[in-house]
C-alpha cells in the first residue's frame, strides 16, 4: 500500500496519542466504548455514503432521513403497543418499520436520480428539506417520544452488548466489514467504482448503470434505517433537530478516508477511520477543556484539514 494511503491512519494514531497524553482516562474501557458506540450512527451511514460517492453520487438527505425514520419508527411503535404489548415483538416490529422506511426513502431518492435523471445534489437537497419538515410536522413542532416503558425495554440495544462490547459497536463493525468486502470483493463494488469513474464505459461494459446507481441509494437508505435502530434506544425520541448536519459529517468522513468526491474510487476502511477521527476530535475537545468552547469549531476545522494534508503528501510527486 502506498504510504500516503495511510494518511488517515496516521492522523488517527496522532489523535489517539494526543488524547492519551491529555487524560489518563482516555484509553479506559468506558471512554473507548463511548466513543465507538456513538460513532456507530454516523459510521453506519458513512459506509453507505461511501458507495454512493464512489458511484459518483451524493446524498445530502441522510441526516433528516434519519430523523424522519426515527419519527416514523417511534410513532409506529407507540401505535403498536396496544396490539403487541411491550416486548421483543414490538422491538422487532419497530426495527422492521425503520428498515422499510429507510429503504423506501432511499428508493425514492434513487428513482429520482437514476430514472428521472435529476442531479443527485438537488434531489437530496430537496428530500433533506422534505424529511426534516415532515418530522417537525409529525412532532407538531416538538419531540416525538417513545412510550416510556417501551423505551426502558429497548434501551439495552444501545447500552448493552455481548462480551462487554456494546451492540452499536458490534453492528458498526459488521457493517464496516461487510461494506469493505462488498466494495473490494463483489461485482457490485466494482460496478460502483466503474460507474463513478466513467459512466459511459460502465454502460458499454454491460453494467446496469441505472440499477447500480439506484442500489447505492437504497443501500444507503437501508443503512440509515439501521443506524436509526441503534439511535432510538439511546435517546428514545426524535425531533426536527435530530440528525442535523449528519450528512456533512458522513460525507466528510468518507472524503477524509480517501474516497474520491467525484467518484471512481472508494475505500470503506478509510471511511471508518474518518468517522473515528471525527468522533475523537469531539471527545478530545471535551477531555482537554483548554480553550474557549467558542473555538471548538475552529480546532475541529484545523484538524480535519490536517488529517487530509497527511494523506495528500504524496500528491506533488506524481
Amino acid at each position: 500500500m502506498p504510504l500516503h494511503a495511510l494518511g488517515p491512519v496516521l492522523a488517527l494514531v496522532a489523535l489517539i496519542i494526543l488524547g492519551a497524553s491529555l487524560n489518563s482516562n482516555f484509553l479506559s474501557y468506558g471512554n473507548v466504548t463511548n466513543v465507538l458506540a456513538r460513532s456507530a450512527f454516523i459510521g453506519i451511514i458513512a459506509v453507505g455514503m461511501t458507495f454512493v460517492i464512489t458511484a459518483g453520487g451524493i446524498d445530502l438527505s441522510v441526516g433528516s432521513m434519519a430523523a424522519f425514520v426515527a419519527g416514523v419508527m417511534i410513532l409506529a411503535m407507540n401505535a403498536m403497543i396496544p396490539v403487541l404489548g411491550v416486548g421483543v415483538p414490538l422491538i422487532v416490529a419497530g426495527m422492521g418499520v425503520a428498515l422499510l422506511a429507510g429503504i423506501a426513502a432511499g428508493l425514492i431518492n434513487g428513482l429520482l436520480i437514476a430514472k428521472v435523471g435529476i442531479e443527485a445534489f438537488i434531489v437530496t437537497l430537496g428530500s433533506m428539506g422534505i424529511y426534516r419538515s415532515l418530522t417537525t410536522w409529525l412532532a407538531d413542532g416538538g419531540t416525538l417520544s417513545l412510550n416510556f416503558e417501551a423505551r426502558g425495554f429497548y434501551r439495552p440495544v444501545y447500552y448493552d452488548g455481548i462480551l462487554g462490547i456494546a451492540w452499536p459497536i458490534i453492528v458498526f463493525a459488521l457493517v464496516a466489514i461487510l461494506g469493505e468486502l462488498a466494495m473490494r470483493k463483489t461485482p457490485f463494488g466494482r460496478h460502483c467504482a466503474a460507474l463513478g469513474a466513467n459512466e459511459q464505459v460502465a454502460k458499454y461494459s454491460a453494467v446496469k448503470v441505472d440499477r447500480v446507481r439506484m442500489a447505492t441509494y437504497v443501500l444507503l437508505g437501508m443503512l440509515v434505517g439501521l443506524a436509526t435502530i441503534m439511535y432510538v434506544p439511546r435517546l428514545g425520541s426524535a425531533s426536527g433537530s435530530t440528525g442535523v448536519l449528519w450528512e456533512l459529517e458522513a460525507i466528510a468522513a468518507v472524503i477524509i478516508g480517501g474516497t474520491v468526491l467525484k467518484g471512481g474510487f472508494g475505500r470503506v476502511w478509510g471511511t471508518v477511520v474518518g468517522v473515528l477521527i471525527l468522533s475523537l476530535i469531539d471527545n478530545i475537545l471535551n477531555l482537554a477543556s483548554i480553550v474557549s468552547p467558542y473555538l471548538n469549531g475552529a480546532i475541529q476545522g484545523v484538524i480535519v484539514i490536517l488529517a487530509v494534508v497527511l494523506q495528500r503528501e504524496g500528491k506533488s510527486a506524481d
Binding site: T136, G142, L235, S237, S239, S241, N286
Partner: protein, 293 residues
Amino acid sequence: QDTKVIGVAIPSATHGFMGGLNYHAQASIERLEATYPELDFVLATAGDAGKMVNDIEDMVATRNISALVVLPFESEPLTSPVQAVKEQGIWVTVVDRGLSVEGIEDLYVAGDNTGFGRVAGEYFAENLNEGDNIVVLRGIPTTLDNERVDAFTAAIDGSGINVLDMQHGNWNRDDAFNVMQDFLSKYDDIDAVWAADDDMAVGVLEAISQADRSDEMWVVGGAGMKEIIKRIMDGDPQLPVNVTYPPAQIATAIELTALGLVSDTPVAGRFIIGSQIITPENAEQFYFPDSPF
C-alpha cells in the same frame, strides 16, 4: 484536598439568548474557579441533543465529575442519559428545560416559559382593543416554543384580538426581518407584533422602519437584550415593554451547585425565576451593559 469537577453542558451560542447564556456560564465559571481553588469545571457546548449526550458521557467517563449542570438541548432525549448520570451518584442540576421524568435532578433552576408567553399575552390583552390585529414570530420549532406560544394564545383568548399570522423567525434576526417584511406586504393593518425574542425584535423593527410604518404598531420582544432594554428605558413608544427570561439563570445554577459541593449549605430544590414584565419604570434594574446579550 481533593479537587472536585463540575461538568456544565449547555447548547451552543446559536442565537442571542444562548449567546447570553454561554457568556454567563463562562463568566460564572471563571469567577468560581478563582474563588474556590478546589473546584474544576468542564464546559461543553452542543449543537444538537446527540452531541450533548456525548459530552455528558465524556465528562463522566474521563473527567470524574462530581456534579453536572445541564441545560437540556431537548427534554425527551436527555432524560435517560441524565438519569444514568444520576444513578452513578453524581449531583445533577437541571436548568431551564425540565426533564420528562420528574424527580431526577437534585436542583432545578429555570425560567418560566409558560409565564413568558402569558405575561406577554396579558400585556397585549390589556393594551389592545377588540378587533385589533397582531402578527406573531415564532422561534425554532421546539417544545419550548410551543409552550410559550400556547400560553400567549391562552392569555389573549377572549380579548377579541386577531392573530393575523404566525411564522417561524427561528430566533434569528435575518429570518425575522424577512418574515416581517412579508407580513408588512401582506397586511395593511397591523397594530402590534409579538416577536417573542429580542433578536427577532431587532429584525422586526428594521423591517417596520423600512416600510415607514413605525407609528402604526408596537413590538414586544423577550429575554431582555441590553439594546432593547436601553430603548425601553429611553421610553421608545415602539417598544413599550419586554418580558424577562434571564440568561443569567445558568450562573445561578452553577453557583448554587458549587456552593453545595464546597459547603454544607442545602441547595436542593426548585428555583423558578418567574418572567417579569420590563417597563420603562423598572428597566434600569435589568440593564447589564457589559453582557454580550
